[in-house]
């Protein structure tokens, strides 16, 4: 008996106090059953789920990044551009004469340069996010326009750096990040787990997380309480930028290439999944568990539809319709 109540409370804590997570769990199960029934012999295959664990993480990390930006009532429309720019910068570093030779030689030299590449990519993400944060918090540009503008600048810089075509041929250790296996699970999947855990801890266990929620709930009150709003907002966009860079590393590692206009449909999907996961785009509300559940449900949906050979265009339309339906459900639920 005691054990049962205990597990019950743990369960409840995982679900959170709001019903949105429960609703999401139901949606996920419904989609899972629906797709299994519609593709009886193809959906429930190990290979199918394994391929999802390789594709899902890059989008998942972008969704978490979007959620962090939305916590303060903002939005980051530049995440995909940051991801591509970070991957391209690293790709160009690997193409430098000295670096390319060391990479070809292999050994510790190659390991050193791949680590440097990762750090460079993360640095690009950090600086891009910092720029967004400064524009939004210090120059007081509204997040939509600031990130719309910086997104153009980042994508434009990526285009200038590559001149248009994709950069291909990343070092082996880099592609391992996107395609390798560790302890039986996909490396990208591990990275998603780590990033999600770190974000969850920051949001629920540190003062930064609490402050971000407060700013999103009531920006004025937060100022009166003595929260250094501008600084917190800069932190949140910097975090978003770094996460976008991680997604860029995964994407370029998985496809072994980087291009200025990769993954453009990820932007809408990241917004959709963040909102579907219970994040309030007006700020103040957002949970990692919710976003992850929404991510899983939509990955199952699109994988099932792809098995049914539905055209990718129609899948895009279905994602959009899903967003509108979720908006409607959320409204009707909150109106009750």
């Amino acid at each position: 008996m005691v054990a049962e109540t205990r597990s019950n409370s743990v369960f409840r804590r995982l679900l959170g106090s709001d019903a949105s997570i429960l609703q999401l769990a139901v949606i996920t199960v419904v989609i899972f059953v629906l797709m299994t029934v519609m593709n009886p012999d193809k959906f429930l295959r190990y290979y199918n789920f394994e391929s999802i664990t390789y594709v899902m993480p890059e989008l998942g990390i972008l969704c978490l990044a979007m959620m962090v930006a939305m916590l303060t009532g903002g939005i980051d429309l530049s995440i995909v551009a940051i991801a591509n720019l970070a991957a391209i910068t690293a790709g160009i570093y690997f193409k430098q004469p000295g670096v390319a030779e060391a990479l070809a030689a292999g050994g510790t030299g190659a390991a050193f340069h791949v680590t440097m590449g990762v750090l460079i990519a993360l640095m690009v993400g950090l600086l891009s996010g910092l720029l967004n944060g400064v524009l939004i918090a210090r120059l007081r540009i509204i997040p939509i326009l600031a990130t719309l503008g910086t997104g153009q600048v980042f994508a434009g810089l990526a285009l200038v750096l590559t001149g248009g075509p994709a950069i291909a041929g990343f070092p082996d250790a880099w592609t391992w990040i996107g395609t390798g296996k560790l302890l039986g699970l996909a490396v990208p999947f591990w990275i998603l787990i780590v990033v999600a855990a770190v974000v969850a801890v920051i949001l629920t266990r540190t003062h930064i997380g609490l402050n971000l929620m407060l700013i999103g709930t009531n920006a004025r009150a937060a100022v009166f309480v003595g929260i250094r709003s501008a600084r917190m907002i800069i932190y949140s966009y910097t975090m978003t930028g770094v996460m976008a860079a991680i997604a860029g590393i995964l994407l370029s590692g998985r496809t072994n290439s980087a291009k200025a206009d990769f993954g453009s449909s990820y932007l809408l999907q990241a917004v959709l999944i963040a909102v579907l996961g219970g994040t309030n785009p007006a700020g103040g509300k957002g949970r990692v568990a919710g976003v992850l559940l929404a991510l899983v449900s939509l990955m199952l949906l699109s994988s099932g539809l792809q098995i049914m050979r539905v055209s990718n265009f129609l899948i895009d339309a279905i994602w959009g319709a899903f967003l509108v339906v979720v908006i409607a459900i959320n409204y009707l639920r909150s109106a009750k």
Binding site: I75, A146, G149, V153, L268, F313, D316, V324, I327, Y331
Partner: protein, 325 residues
């Protein structure tokens, strides 16, 4: 100097300075052919910008208009080809009606479910583009299949002159269409009840509601008109470039929003004018077109547009803060 307090005057001053600078770097800028082609490049983006202006004055944002324009143009032209109809007036009415319907869909979701316009229109844009490409296909209707009268309409010139190199260049009559739309929009915004309601609603939604503004009607008018203008501009594009491409206008939302913001409209709503928007559109189109004249590599275009958005919004944010203080 009261004149410099008006936003339009400031934009016009910037515009003239930029023109002089570009002309100084490359005198070819002042060539008749360049000026005429510049005017032509303004038409379609300008008409869309007027729709977005309306949405922004009402405090919203619309990123679905490129999808609406592409849908209206492609559905209309494909229907014309399928039934073998040729003409001008009916197809444009059809495209406008399609635009209004899609705009009404936006308005319905935004008004009924009280959702942030950016997120709603991101979703509807994805639905519209996905359905058009998924159900109608991706093949481009080329000039040999395009309805002849539609192309003839797009080819009408106001005046034509012989340029320095001997070629004849014409100023497209579509400029008149653009100016006509602009005048109508100006009259609606400044001299009708609904126009004033849009400013009131964008300035402060709650005060507007208490003052007796019909919120639902205002939202529907704004998004339906934006849809109408997008549909109209879409078909106009098809008749001007002589082809119907269902993937047309991808990425235009950025340019158009940049132009409207550059024209002095505030994204918080309640501010913006037709004249300012037209100047903003002209400035943006001119800078983009002139990068080639100034021998700047085309890969830099997006960086420049992004920088323009950031600078223009930083200035407006600074201006709005000064007004509040």
């Amino acid at each position: 100097m009261k004149i410099f307090q008006s936003t339009e005057a400031v934009i016009a001053a910037v515009l003239i300075l930029v023109m002089l600078a570009i002309g100084f770097i490359n005198p070819a800028f002042w060539g008749v052919d360049n000026l005429f082609s510049l005017a032509k490049s303004n038409v379609v983006i300008g008409i869309m910008a007027l729709g977005v202006l309306l949405v922004m004055i009402a405090g919203g944002i619309d990123v679905s208009f490129p999808a609406i324009a592409a849908a209206a143009l492609y559905i209309t032209v494909r229907t014309m080809v399928a039934i073998g109809y040729d003409g001008v007036v009916l197809p444009f009415i059809g495209a406008c009606v399609l635009g209004i319907l899609l705009g009404a869909f936006n308005a319905f979701i935004i008004e009924r479910f009280k959702m942030i316009p950016l997120i709603v229109t991101l979703g509807t844009a994805s639905i519209i583009r996905g359905l058009v490409l998924g159900l109608l296909g991706t093949s481009i209707v080329n000039i040999n299949k395009m309805p002849k009268e539609l192309i003839a309409f797009g080819k009408v010139d106001l005046v034509s002159v012989t340029a320095a190199n001997g070629a004849t260049v014409g100023l497209t009559a579509m400029v008149l269409v653009y100016l006509g739309v602009a005048v109508v929009m100006h009259l609606i915004l400044r001299h009708t009840m609904i126009g004033r309601s849009i400013y009131a609603y964008g300035g402060d939604a709650e005060s507007a509601r208490r003052a007796g503004v019909n919120i639902r009607k205002t939202i529907f008018f704004v998004y339906c008109t934006a849809g109408l203008l997008a549909g109209f501009a879409g078909l106009l594009q098809a008749s001007m470039i002589w082809q119907a491409n269902p993937r047309d206008f991808v990425g235009w939302e950025l340019d158009v929003i940049a132009a409207v913001v550059l024209g002095g409209a505030s994204i918080f709503g309640g501010r913006g004018s037709v004249l300012g928007t037209m100047l903003g559109v002209f400035t943006l189109v001119m800078i983009k077109n002139s990068l080639i004249l100034m021998k700047v590599d085309t890969t830099w275009q997006r960086v420049v547009v992004g920088a323009i958005i950031i600078i223009a919004t930083a200035i407006t944010a600074w201006r709005d803060r000064k007004k509040l203080a």
